[in-house]
Amino acid sequence: MNQKFSIVPVFYLAFLLIPLYWLLTMSFKPMKELAGQLTLYPKSPTLDHYQVIFSDSSWYLGYLNATVYVLMNVAICLVAAIPAAYAFSRIRFFGSRSLFFSLLAFRMMSPAILLIPIVQIFSDLNLIDTYIAVALAHCFFNLPIAIWILEGFISSVPAELDELARIDGYNLATYFRKILLPEIAPGIAVAAFFCFLFSWTEVILSNALTTIDVKPIGAIMSRVSSVFTANVPILSAAGVLTLIPGILIVILVRRHLTRGFSMGRVD
């Protein structure tokens, strides 16, 4: 690979950072600065917009609501995905390949395709505007992601460990607890973070399944968009705050980012 310093990544870096800078700038500009000319940086920076978000429950509850159903979704996905990933990785059973593919197909399905029936099902179950509805609905794309990622990690644990555990008289539950889970701890973290991420960033379903009490931040942002320029700074501030989980993920699972994004296929 290229060892010499190259300017290409610097240009790309600038291309990525300028729009991010713009969001940040907009979030600190007072309203009156948006009425006039273009300003490259906030001439009189203000924290007003952040203050509004942190003091107005119709804003800050959006973050809490999203956090609650996202964490529920992550917990559900992990509990279901760990045994499933083990089965796909270790057991040759009828239908394993087709099932493994079906999971991928659901991951690729646009929420737009399943939107109407999902809303109908959860309204029949009387679960509209509850955390659990969104947490369950997000399973159709997040569970496949978790299983694919964990299957990759489990497959890189030597199968001899299974053998040894059996000889030592471990049953499957003990084997999971004492050997497999510690071995794939980074994989569990990667799966958890990526489920968190995809549930956190999804907006079509989480908007449709919530009405008042559990509206997530994404849905709140899409609702205020109709009244336009007046909302630019506050939407920017709200947008900046939604980036925090993503930035934490980058820092915490930096070494495994490619594994997460490639659904466990690339080391």
Partner: protein, 293 residues
């Protein structure tokens, strides 16, 4: 082949997953198929209409146009982002602090809520106070969001900004698996830069490019939120992609039959493309993940 006991174990381990997938994916999709074969009044009574909705959708010029727009958008996105991503990955420093720093910053757009991506680009092109629109004005052009070409370029630029890093990250990981000995051998043979790329690097990137290609095709093919925030399908219907058309038909016109048929056709394309990639990413003889070639 596995014994009955192993099958029982496998399906036992899979049961929570199967229950959740049936609830959140299989039943909703079965309902979509049901809608697509029936006519209904206000969701009360369903009357069997066979393939009527499919004929209507497949014969509709709006659907053809939306499908073409989505395919065109995906192909443009792939044609730009794959080569660009490979190129940037090749130019990255292999190790060191700078390399780590690049990777961290490159990943940020990938982790952003789609709606925020839409807003960022909307704010960049605001009339009078947008950085990009004013920069273009400075160059002497008129940035006009009523021009379909301008909106398309903006959307492609936005998608490239949002997702090229995925290709970069995957290719960078793929390139790191190439042993130094390969490069030394190439140097002894006097291979040029292109020969090294063509015969050493590109073959090693096969798997990562398949995965990147699959993910990029799918996520651009189902684009909704960012495009909606930025352009709302306009000007006119020039950026009315498949997802936008579908959501409009199903939720705004509340046309379950037509929306259902559209969704089934849409899903069929998704499944076929996913299968084409899947059969190459995971060859039939093994369920295990494959590294490199």
């Amino acid at each position: 082949m596995a014994s009955t006991a192993q099958h029982r174990l496998a399906y036992g381990l899979l049961s929570p997953t199967l229950v959740l997938m049936i609830l959140s994916g299989v039943i909703p999709f079965a309902l979509v198929i049901y809608f697509s074969l029936h006519d209904t009044f206000a969701g009360e009574h369903y009357i069997w209409v066979g393939t009527t909705w499919y004929e209507q959708v497949l014969g509709s010029t709006e659907f053809h146009a939306a499908l073409l727009r989505s395919l065109g958008f995906s192909i443009l996105a792939l044609a730009i982002q794959l080569p660009l991503g490979i190129y940037i990955a090749l130019k990255l420093p292999v190790q060191g602090l700078l390399s780590k720093l690049y990777i961290i910053i490159f990943a940020i757009p990938l982790l952003m809520p789609v709606i925020v991506v839409g807003y960022i680009w909307k704010f960049l092109v605001l009339p009078k106070i947008g950085l990009l629109s004013e920069f273009i004005a400075l160059l002497g052009w008129n940035y006009d969001l009523n021009d379909p070409v301008v909106v398309w370029i903006t959307l492609i630029l936005m998608d490239t900004w949002h997702w090229t890093s995925l290709v970069v990250l995957l290719c960078f990981a793929g390139l790191r698996t190439i042993p130094d000995a390969y490069y030394q051998a190439a140097a002894i043979d006097g291979a040029g830069r292109w020969a090294i790329f063509r015969h050493i690097q590109l073959p090693k990137l096969r798997l990562v490019l398949l995965i990147a290609g699959l993910l990029r095709f799918m996520d651009s093919f189902i684009i909704y939120t960012e495009a909606y925030v930025l352009a709302r399908g306009g000007p006119g219907v020039s950026t009315n992609f498949l997802s936008l058309e579908l959501i409009q038909t199903a939720t705004i016109q509340f046309d379950l039959g037509e929306g259902g048929a559209m969704a089934v056709i849409y899903a069929t394309i998704v499944v076929v493309v996913a299968w084409l990639f899947f059969s190459r990413i995971i060859p039939s003889q093994s369920m295990k993940s494959q590294e490199g070639t």
